[in-house]
């Protein structure tokens, strides 16, 4: 390779699928899709290499110059100013009147692996009023330490005092990674904290791991409508922040022998400082309705039901198995069933022991919401439906013939009782 040669971006046209991602990514307007291939405008290209990792077929590379690898990737994270001195994996413990959202324990489960890989502490950030029990409980689920702020202004969640409390703890103790559940509350909070700290925040991660070389947190999530996955890094800012939906990660078994070190901090805020006031709360009337997110058995219906009344059949199946009813987005969009039944990328992520998909084709956006189920069953007339790719058991057939038989047999064999007593599945 000639040393004096300027590096330049090159493309292997036969590999290019003209997806347009490089064009969208290029900050210099130097790549354009012309016909079925990407064309580089060398007057504009600054060889920033931004397009290279984006390309799904790896058809872009840099030729000539001293190094072909992306300049940034080769640079260890430690050399940049803000990164040094940050250590520890923290999980925000979401609680309401002492009741902890299970996503917090799931994040501790995932955080344990990250902290062990990095060789650092795993801590829970516990905010509220009288929350010592929450801190102790966090220990049972894997945290080494809890940073606690106990203050009456934190009794019920409001953005500004919670964000202020998180920021004071993060600024003082400098964790390297902060994980927050992608719940209503968590999304409200995480965006505020990350902006205040001027750091990166990656929403709805489905995978988190540590890059062996750089020790950076690799945050993987679905992108572009779920058709592809993207791995995202926060290279230079700290902490690296991610939100993760409930049911994506797995909690460690609760272990009451685990001890936790509690570090209590004060927050110089009183009620007068908080301008937003909560003046009412109307709890949903159907609070006792089965919880899809944490259901152990889910029977879902899709467009293959043909009409809204098809969900009556799915409900009967769910009842016969002691499960809860789910749905695809196509049926929700059609108005056959309410959105709170929707499983998938724009619905709920579930992880039941048994997931039965009836008349659901298995679009990627549906799959990302249920693929971690222990056992997946698909019933579909189309043998080529993608749902069969992911199903453990498939029946190629008309759901209106198969499901009634399932209901009949499940009742006959009293499966529900068996399931509830934990014998089957």
């Amino acid at each position: 390779m000639a040393k004096d040669k300027q590096p330049r971006l090159v493309i292997e046209p036969e590999k290019c699928i003209a997806c347009g991602l490089c064009e969208a990514e290029c900050p210099f307007d130097a790549i354009h899709i012309e016909g079925d291939v990407a064309v580089i405008d060398y007057d504009k290209c600054k060889v920033c290499r931004k397009c290279i990792p984006i390309c799904p077929t790896n058809c872009l590379s840099v030729e000539g110059g001293k190094e072909a690898a992306p300049a940034e990737a080769a640079k260890p994270a430690e050399v940049t100013g803000k990164v040094g001195g940050y250590s520890g994996v923290w999980v925000f413990a979401e609680q309401d009147s002492g009741e902890v959202h299970p996503v917090s324990w799931e994040l501790l489960g995932c955080g344990r692996t990250l902290a062990d890989t990095l060789g650092c502490e795993l801590a829970a950030m516990v905010l509220g009023e009288d929350v010592e029990d929450v801190a102790i409980e966090a220990g049972y689920y894997g945290a080494d330490r809890a940073y606690v702020i106990d203050n009456p202004v934190l009794q019920v969640y409001r953005t500004s005092p919670y964000a202020a409390a998180c920021i004071s703890l993060i600024s003082k103790y400098k964790p390297e990674i902060v994980l927050v559940g992608a719940t209503t509350l968590g999304r409200d909070l995480a965006g505020a904290i990350a902006t205040e700290l001027g750091t990166g925040l990656t929403a709805d991660c489905t995978g988190l791991d540590i890059d062996e070389e750089t020790k950076l947190l690799r945050q993987t999530r679905p992108a572009f409508g779920g058709s592809i996955m993207a791995t995202i890094l926060t290279r230079e800012q700290r902490p690296q922040m991610s939100t993760v939906r409930p049911r994506v990660m797995e909690a460690l078994p609760r272990d009451e022998t685990r001890q936790i070190e509690i570090i209590s901090e004060d927050l110089a805020l009183t009620e007068e400082d908080v301008l937003t006031k909560i003046i009412g709360f109307q709890a949903d009337s159907d609070l006792d309705a089965p919880n899809l997110q944490y259901a152990e058995i889910i029977c879902s219906g899709g467009r293959g039901l043909g009409s809204p009344s098809g969900f009556e059949l799915i409900q009967q199946l769910a009842d016969a198995l002691g499960g809860v009813m789910g749905a695809s987005r196509a049926t929700v969009d059609a108005g056959w069933i309410s959105h709170d039944h929707q499983v998938g990328q724009t619905g709920i992520t579930v992880r039941p022991r048994l997931y039965i998909a009836c008349g659901i084709s298995g679009a990627i956006q549906h799959l990302v919401g249920m693929q971690s189920s222990d056992t997946i069953v698909a019933i579909n007339t189309d043998p080529d439906a993608p749902i069969f790719q992911i199903a453990d058991y498939g029946i190629v057939g008309d759901l209106y013939q198969v499901v009634p038989e399932l209901i009949r047999l499940a009742k006959e064999r009293n499966l529900k009782e068996k399931l509830l007593s934990g014998v089957a599945f």
């Binding site: 953005t159 996955m229 013939q401 047999l409």
Partner: protein
């Protein structure tokens, strides 16, 4: 009189996206932003005032802004510059906040409305980011505005939470992010449609905003995409035969399998 700005985004109509090829995918006004716009127009009808829509995006995003004009919005501004390209949510909220500051300087600002999230990225991070940068109380997941007290300078809003609806009161100026249940979209009136068709969207570039260049676009983004890849393939499971000829038999075989599997996994 309520001076409002709605922050909107043009997004690919992802319900139509089936491949990576973006060509021919129609662009639409982000549905949640449409509801935020409608909410602002309804507030204007009730309390009087002024609604401006603001978007950061490529030149073609002017179409989404014109759509907002047809809803009854008074003014539409597109913040558009090559320097903004490649922005993550951190850099986006920075640029949009700069646009809002400029509008606030020109016409005043009592209320910012955003959609709950954009359907292309689904992050729900830009609204809170803007609120933080402008130091506004943030009220996410708004389903309804109970009251605006112009004298006291407060707004009372209902928020959709996981277990119910919460009512909160915050001082103005404030920022709301709106969910679909906020309102039903109305059909545009004929005069508004004509107005939208003729409307010339104002375009502001980086030079028009008080910003630091290194905080814009790709440069101002804290996150970078390291890799993009196809979702992993799955191992094909077992097809239980007889689904069409003998549904009862297939159903029975399925239940046997499930029970058998459960028994072995118990061990």
């Amino acid at each position: 009189m309520l001076r409002m700005v709605v922050c909107v985004k043009q997004v690919p109509d992802t319900t139509e996206v089936h491949t990576l090829i973006r060509e021919g995918v129609p662009s639409i006004l982000n549905p949640f932003d449409a509801h935020a716009t409608e909410a602002a127009v309804q507030l204007k009808e009730k309390y009087g005032g002024h609604v401006t829509v603001l978007s950061m995006g490529p030149p073609q995003a002017a179409e989404a802004l014109k759509k907002c004009i047809s809803f009854g919005v008074d003014r539409a501004i597109l913040v558009s510059d090559r320097a903004f390209a490649g922005a993550d949510t951190l850099a986006t909220s920075y640029t949009v906040a700069a646009g809002l500051r400029k509008i606030a300087g020109e016409e005043g600002l009592d209320l910012v409305l955003c959609g709950k999230q954009a359907i292309d990225g689904d992050t729900a991070q830009v609204g809170p980011g803007i609120a933080c940068r402008l130091d506004l109380p943030q009220i996410t997941y708004a389903v309804g505005v109970d009251e605006v007290d112009l004298e006291e300078g407060t707004i009372t809003v209902q928020r959709r939470l996981e277990k119910g609806v919460q009512t909160v009161q915050a001082p103005l100026p404030a920022l709301l992010t709106c969910v679909e249940e906020m309102n039903e979209l109305r059909y545009a009136s004929l005069p508004n449609m004509i107005k939208a068709a003729r409307y010339e969207v104002e375009v502001w570039t980086a030079a028009d905003l008080d910003t630091e260049p290194e905080r814009l676009g790709l440069k101002g983004s804290a996150t970078v995409v390291e890799r993009i890849f196809a979702p992993p393939e799955h191992e094909r499971g077992e097809i239980i035969p007889g689904g069409s000829e003998d549904p009862a038999g297939a159903a029975a075989a399925l239940l046997d399998k499930l029970i058998e599997q459960a028994a072995t996994s118990e061990e």
